[in-house]
């Protein structure tokens, strides 16, 4: 079987291009099939989307030589404060406080806007990765020696491995017969960016409220990203409000510690659900990111989890290629699944549990979780453990890209 590429990646979001760059950097030939046209997203205007990149994710971007061009656009997260919030009641008696001064690795993470990250990835792919924008994968035919992928323009390309980086509705997974498990949270995340008068000092806030968590994440300058989860009914009503009315609902929840606030870009609403693929691999197929595990965006772990997949799959595939193995063979793919699935499942279910714990109005649970947060906050070892987990420093063994070491 003749192969046009070593690896074909379906999906041109963030995980797909990042994986493509990691593989191409090690000498593999890679194509990215991207249903979007580049112009649809690489524009200069801020569309409001931003990510909380864990330290490990930043290290991965460093290993791919992308971070130097992005660091200046990012906002280091120096502290994370989490507390139980009740609208209009002010600060809760118990809260968690994570200070990056406590772990030697530096900031817990960095906030980075989607437009900068996406533009850097698209730019870096030029000349190194075959980017096929405006095309989708419509069929896939795996065989013992490779996989034939049919594109929406009728073209067929042959590869050793097809990677599904095509989101929680992954067509690659569906065509491979991989079933999914999950549930709807009955919540919707409202996402917006606000300008504020006072500096945020790099502090991220997370309020756990009975209707869902509210995160205030620092962006460069006097600007913050707000990720506000509400019950679906509440969210639909709030999303329908005009900007002024939206702000008047947000203000009491947001608080006044950053001074007066104003909207700085468009608002978005994302229905929240958990969607886990039962397998991350199938013959000649591997899934990464939301295609493998679409999680609750609590703690902003979606992209970070995806980048862990990128690091693990890139390392498995590159090492296999360097010892001359067939990179799409079952034994190679099993190594990837064995490395990632336990961690990703634990993270997904952990976030699910945290969300459920805080979504109850039961006063006993409420008191217990308050005491629990106070306990974690009071015990430095436990607190550092949580910080390392959130910073993505707790996977074992650690993929070398997440340690900032190129493959």
């Amino acid at each position: 079987m003749r192969h046009d590429f070593d690896v074909v990646i379906a999906g041109g979001g963030l995980n797909g291009p990042t994986l493509a760059l990691a593989l191409a950097g090690a000498g593999l030939s890679v194509a990215v099939v991207d249903p979007r046209r580049v112009d649809d997203r690489a524009g200069d205007t801020f569309d409001g989307r931003a990510y909380a990149l864990a330290l490990a994710s930043v290290r991965l971007l460093s290993a791919l030589s992308l971070w130097p061009g992005l660091a200046g656009e990012s906002q280091p997260i120096r502290q994370v404060k989490a507390s139980q919030g009740h609208p209009g009641e002010g600060a809760a008696p118990f809260f968690l406080h994570f200070d990056s001064a406590e772990i030697e690795e530096g900031p817990v993470g960095h906030m980075l806007e989607d437009r900068f990250l996406y533009r850097a990835l698209i730019g870096a792919m030029e000349g190194r990765v075959t980017h096929l924008p405006g095309l989708a994968v419509t069929a896939q035919d795996p065989g013992p020696h490779g996989i034939t992928v049919t594109l929406s323009d009728g073209r067929q390309i042959a590869a050793r491995l097809l990677v599904g980086a095509d989101g929680r509705g992954s067509g690659v997974a569906a065509r491979a017969g991989i079933r999914r498990q999950g549930w709807d949270y009955g919540q919707t995340a409202l996402v917006a960016v606000v300008d504020h008068d006072l500096p945020h000092h790099g502090i991220a806030h997370q309020y756990f409220m009975t209707t869902g968590p509210l995160a205030i994440l620092p962006l460069p300058g006097n600007r913050s990203s707000v990720v506000w989860s509400e019950t679906r009914t509440n969210a639909a009503a709030i999303a329908a409000l005009k900007d002024d009315a939206f702000l008047s609902v947000l203000r009491p929840r947001f608080g006044d510690f950053l001074g007066p606030i104003a909207l700085a870009g468009p608002r978005f609403a994302y229905p929240l659900s958990l969607s886990l693929a039962e397998c991350y691999i199938a013959p000649r197929v591997a899934l990464i990111g939301d295609a493998a595990h679409g999680v609750h965006p609590i703690a902003g772990q979606g992209l970070n989890l995806g980048l862990r997949d990128v690091a693990a799959l890139a390392e498995v595939v590159v090492k296999a290629a360097r010892r001359g193995e067939d990179i799409g063979s079952p034994l190679v793919l099993e190594r990837y699944q064995g490395w990632r699935r336990p961690d990703a499942t634990a993270m997904a279910l952990g976030m699910d549990t945290v969300n459920r714990l805080f979504a109850t109005g039961n006063p006993v649970i409420s008191a217990l979780r308050g005491a629990g947060m106070g306990l974690v906050s009071a015990l430095p070892g436990l607190r550092r453990g949580f910080m390392r987990q959130a910073a993505g420093l707790s996977i074992h063994p650690m993929p070398q890209l997440l340690e900032g070491r190129p493959l």
Binding site: M1, R2, H3, A26, G27, P144, H145, K319, A320, A321, R322, R323, G324, E325, D326, S329, P330, L331
Partner: protein
């Protein structure tokens, strides 16, 4: 000596027949050869590292073994020959069992890999005057009837400066427990009778054979199996069951 007498010197006909019966299963990672498939990445890492270091190649290059002529003796279904060819080596795979060669040839063609597979013996190749930069004899010396003669044949197949890499099983109580009781009787990974423990060779004995054939020992390393993770790792100290030995001509 004639090639006939050399054939009978190192290849036991009954041993060949055993493997021929298993040939079709070579490439099934969940079949009888699963233990070999699990061990293979470590063997490949070791072999690639030894060759690239010896010949001054960049192990991160796409085809670090380009231009090197490599012989895999007892190549079986091609589990090592194919990766070596992917790394750029000009590979000859030899196996005395014609069934293995048929399986290996079919698989390599389907993968689009060019390998010179021959149903022949090391002795016959040596008689033809074939010379190689690298000779691999993996999990094979414990099956030959005259190990000293076999190592001497390997030596004659090497170009000056060439590398011989052997892997085999040590003759210890632990190797009896692992390879015979564990792999054949309990786990049934290998059919009973695959190995004869009395034919196993200690690292010192093998080093002696290698030196006796006029080669220098360059490296020896243990391969250690972890029954909890089903993973293998290299060890500088523990050569008590599986081990590798590299020699330079």
């Amino acid at each position: 000596m004639t090639s006939m007498s050399q054939t009978s010197a190192s290849v036991d006909q009954a041993e060949i027949a055993k493997f021929e019966a298993m040939a079709a299963e070579w490439w099934d990672p969940n079949g009888k050869f699963r233990p070999l498939h699990l061990m293979n990445p470590l063997r490949l890492d070791y072999i690639a590292a030894q060759i690239t270091a010896e010949f001054g190649r960049d192990g991160k290059a796409r085809m670090p073994l380009a231009g090197l002529r490599l012989l895999d003796i007892g190549c079986g279904g091609g589990l090592v020959a194919e990766p070596m060819a992917r790394l750029g080596a000009d590979v000859t795979g030899a196996d005395a069992a014609a069934g293995n060669i048929a399986v290996a040839r079919l698989h390599a063609e389907a993968q689009g890999i060019a390998i010179d597979y021959r149903a022949t013996t090391a002795e016959a190749l040596a008689d033809m005057g074939e010379r190689f930069d690298v000779v691999l004899a993996l999990e094979i010396i414990e099956h030959v009837s005259n190990p000293a003669g076999f190592v001497a044949t390997c030596q004659s197949l090497l170009k000056p400066g060439g590398l011989l890499i052997l892997s085999t099983l040590n003759r210890t109580a632990r190797s009896f427990a692992a390879a015979i009781i564990g792999a054949e009787w309990v786990m049934r990974w290998l059919p009973r009778g695959t190995h004869d423990w009395r034919r196993f060779i200690t690292p010192d004995e093998l080093a002696g054979l290698v030196k006796g054939a006029g080669l220098q020992v360059a490296d020896r390393r243990g391969m250690v199996f972890n029954p909890l993770t089903f993973g293998w790792r290299l060890s500088d100290r523990d050569l008590s069951v599986n081990y590798l030995l590299t020699a330079r001509r």
